[in-house]
Symmetry: C2
Subunit: 232 residues, 2 copies
Amino acid sequence: MSACDTCVIRNRAICAALNKDEIAVLSTIGRRRVLVPGESLIWEGEDSVLVANVIEGVLKLSTGTEDGREQIVGVVYPSDFIGRPFGATTSHGVTALTDAKVCVFSRRDFDAFAREHPALEHKLLQRTLGELDRTRRWMLLLGRKSAGERVASFLVEMSERLANGRCDTIDGHLEMRFTLPFSRQQIADVLGLTIETVSRQFTRLKNERIIDLPSRREVIIVDIPGLEAEAG
Amino acid sequence: MSACDTCVIRNRAICAALNKDEIAVLSTIGRRRVLVPGESLIWEGEDSVLVANVIEGVLKLSTGTEDGREQIVGVVYPSDFIGRPFGATTSHGVTALTDAKVCVFSRRDFDAFAREHPALEHKLLQRTLGELDRTRRWMLLLGRKSAGERVASFLVEMSERLANGRCDTIDGHLEMRFTLPFSRQQIADVLGLTIETVSRQFTRLKNERIIDLPSRREVIIVDIPGLEAEAG
DNA sequence: CGATGGTTTGAGATATATCAAACCTCGTGG
DNA sequence: CCACGAGGTTTGATATATCTCAAACCATCG
């Protein structure tokens, strides 16, 4: 019995392309690893030595300039794939935002296994194409949207991704509530803004009764259509 | 004898994964198409009906907001693949910047063919992973770089991509010369700036003897290390 | 209870956008 | 051949969104 048998993302990750026997083989080359918030799995610019599936938690993909400016270029959730297979170097670091569990493979082992399992590569291709679409949509935000639109778009995306967040009907209208896996600084690094600008936009949305902020990390979207309108 | 036999990108495009017989089959489902500057092959948000290989020319991938702001999210060159296989809708439009030749497939035909040829899917995966890396690097530019750094980065990338541009040694130092496939407005749409800001950065770089501008579309990089330093 | 790290708020500086006009370049037609 | 017009580009003056710097604030933890 392998760890895969009890894996909660077994049917959503790329592993879903494999049958029982194939999974058994794959499980011999993978191993689980636990990460605490702030802990990195991969560093920007290093040789691509490992790839992984996210089992639990949220991680950021980020790059930066020499003088210390940072940009978060992606966020991954359970069942997402991380790392750069079939490639020389990783162009961005991977760091846990929350406590996280990942299923790690040496890149060489994974590459070899994948090349012999077209169904796995197909899943990976689908996932990569989807990620590319999402990333390009984010470019519109970074290149052309105002601070207000960026923050609103961010909250809309969060509410979609963290669907585990409660979604309640309070006296006749729909509310969404969730806990952000990001600090204010990290939100700024996702949106290409400063922490102060992000903070001001949060309080503005709160004053306009579009959202509510019970605590630093918690968000309630009070006026969902209103927020979508703000997202531009 | 199929069109593929004389295709100039035969060995660089994803088709390189196929043998003679497979190519023969593929060529029966593809057809060539010529595009003039400004002509679109795919429109943002429409159903994904076709995919293609670029044979000749340069094309832009772009999205926009409802109120008319535009962002170019990618630029493709000969041997690049365009369109969204295995997927519902295209999240960005594809428009020719120069005269262009493409090899077009119906998405359904291509999907079916690809699924039966893992080597082709593997090539496509590699290409997609590379494109994702490049796109993420561009996010750093859009999120964190100044106008000066953006324009300089753009020119560096152009000089790498348009290596067909002459590269001469003029009295002891290296110069690069090429013709831009973009108007100033399109450069602005790539960089997330306005046309005026792009123009001002061009003249600044010219005044500082880092580049020279013999005509609107032509660029000579006089001081290559200087430009790279400006790119940040 | 005080220290600490993250967050919010405020006042001022600045890079880039906006609006407007002048300027080329190139093709067209007189 | 030259004048004209049109599109794209450059330059200028001003506005403004966002950044920067600085201080106050607030939870959390020892």
